[in-house]
Symmetry: C2
Subunit: 357 residues, 2 copies
């Protein structure tokens, strides 16, 4: 690999001058020398060694991002928001997937710290795990002590800047909607127990049901992986245990789509026989059939806000921005069947707004 001094030698100038030309330094260089340097760069196909550069100008610019999995639409959307702001500011993003492994998360904090990132953003649910949380906070504190900025998205266990989707309110919205439609036998497909997001959404849901004098017994909750297959399987277990269910809430859209697949396989029509609610409103939610009724989270905006916090001027007190959830009514949630399946047997029921007209 050609180095700067190769270029300098070829151009017949000092490395200092070559560097100034290449980096467009403010220090003036005569056109003559500039030309020569540029020519040498082109001839040698010179590309500066990024590590040497980063080392020399101990000037942190990149931003580290730790997400559960970028290819999960939830994080893809958040990342889009992060990127947008970062690009505007000419920042490079280093994105790491923890795949929901706390240890890997810890490792990545170190890795990114080692890479001298100017800021660190952790996106995705926290864990109900005291020891881990303490360790993480220690690492983050150490990082912040050296001038690093930290923001988290959707996890409350950290003391610094945070962007919080209102998971609890979202759960509440879902619950209220189903109650309003008359549902009583509601099953829940929850994410992993250890995630705080699961707990929060569940808490909101439960609150809504309780307020309406209904309840959410543990036997109507299934905990599964936060993905399509987890949802499909959990729906099956839920239905096996409790065929009376008239509605299922999935705590994210991927799981809801899995549930839809299970229902279709079992010949249950949605929403005539059973209603389904998702959570997150990922882009695909509108394209499944029937289109998914879900709780929307402003995912892109969450990313935008987090990156803005972290790149903006540091506030004396940590800022917490809570972003609202919103119910998006589409076609998977309908009124509870007049006669529940238990009474009516297996006869198909009319579609909502169909049979009557």
């Amino acid at each position: 690999m050609a180095t700067l001094s190769d270029v300098a030698r070829r151009a017949g100038v000092s490395p200092a001058t070559a560097s100034r030309v290449i980096n467009g330094s403010s220090k003036p260089v005569t056109d003559e020398l500039r030309e020569r340097v540029l020519a040498a760069v082109a001839e040698l196909q010179y590309v500066p060694n990024a590590h040497a550069q980063l080392l020399a100008r101990s000037h942190r610019s990149a931003v580290g991002v730790i997400v559960h999995d970028v290819s999960d639409p939830y994080f893809a959307e958040i990342t889009r928001g992060l990127q947008r702001v970062a690009t505007d500011q000419g920042r490079l993003l280093m994105i790491c997937n923890s795949y929901r492994d706390p240890d890997r998360e810890l490792e990545y904090v170190e890795l990114l710290r080692g890479h001298q990132v100017a800021a660190l953003i952790l996106a995705g649910s926290g864990y109900h795990d005291e020891a881990f949380t303490r360790q993480l906070n220690e690492k983050l504190a150490a990082y912040e002590a050296t001038g690093g900025r930290v923001a988290v998205i959707g996890r409350h266990e950290h003391s610094g800047d945070a962007v919080m989707p209102d998971n609890r309110a979202g759960g509440y919205l879902a619950g209220r909607e189903l109650c309003g439609l008359g549902h009583r036998a509601i099953g829940v497909i929850a994410g992993p127990r250890i995630l705080t997001t699961t707990t929060d959404r569940l808490a909101g849901l439960r609150q809504a049901l309780t307020e309406q004098g209904r309840e959410l017994p543990e036997r109507r909750i299934r905990y599964a992986e936060f993905d399509r297959d987890g949802g499909a399987e959990a729906a099956a277990r839920l239905l096996d245990a409790d065929p009376e269910l008239t509605a299922i809430v999935a705590l994210n859209d991927s799981m809801a789509i899995g549930a839809l697949a299970t229902l279709r396989a079992r010949g249950l029509s949605v929403p005539q026989q059973i209603s389904v609610l998702g959570f997150d409103d990922m882009p695909i939610a509108r394209d499944v059939t029937p289109a998914l009724t879900t709780v929307r989270l402003p995912l892109v905006h969450m990313g935008v806000r987090a990156m803005s916090l972290v790149l903006g001027v540091g506030a004396p007190t940590p800022r917490v921005e809570v972003l609202p959830a919103e119910l998006v009514r589409r076609d998977t949630a309908g009124p509870v069947p007049r006669a529940t399946r238990a009474t009516a047997g297996s006869a198909p029921r009319a579609r909502r707004g169909d049979a009557s007209s």
Copy 2:
């Protein structure tokens, strides 16, 4: 930030010794000193400066990856394959999104070269653009000249190692399937004209039709962005221009899903009134309703192979691996309607299996 010499000073040893302890060097260090160093590391929360390390051991290990967009399922799957192999070998991946911007692609090659990656993988269609192709090849050649390894996925304009999904054969498969089902009026939703992938898939499709004595006039092709909205819009334009269509081939699944949305909005039933074929078989294809008939590409495997090529021993001659496409029959492609809409004039026609039966 604490540095290695801070650690050394605190432990009362030389930086050399500290380095040896921290990196588990083969050179022996007494337990006593080792302990002291480790203690100092813990107390100072020391993390080595990655740039300094990378600079000092001029040992390239990371691998650079340029894709169009990781959050696009097509690339997400490929990336999964890349990651799998890379992780097994303890390699770090640097992934960059070009968002189908050739200039950005060029920039990223430089960037990654500057970051001293051991290898470079370019995934995603090439461009019909002589000037760009030449520039890219020059840059890649320069990189290879300094010992870098290069592999491309799905683009043929590079001379080195390549993994090629058989786009043409896939297009052929799609065409043959539709011919077999009796379709004649076939519309195509193609990706951007400038992409070689578009051309290849289209060529295969056209070949199949031609062999069956049918044809694919330009007026039945719409070029659009390779995403859901592009597909939705192109389907609308296609239908407006040619209401006789009995089948639509979308050149990727995202566009097919968009087309499905348009058809649903227009009250056309799939596959009774019109058939739809996708391409790629991304995971969501089985979850839309009706489930998408599509051409499967071994996306994960493509990633696995590319990374293996690039990390394996260099072959004297560039290796090109062609990976087969495969038709996946699901529910969006059916036989051509008995009476095509053409014969029946423009009066609204009954849905198949509806009014007539």
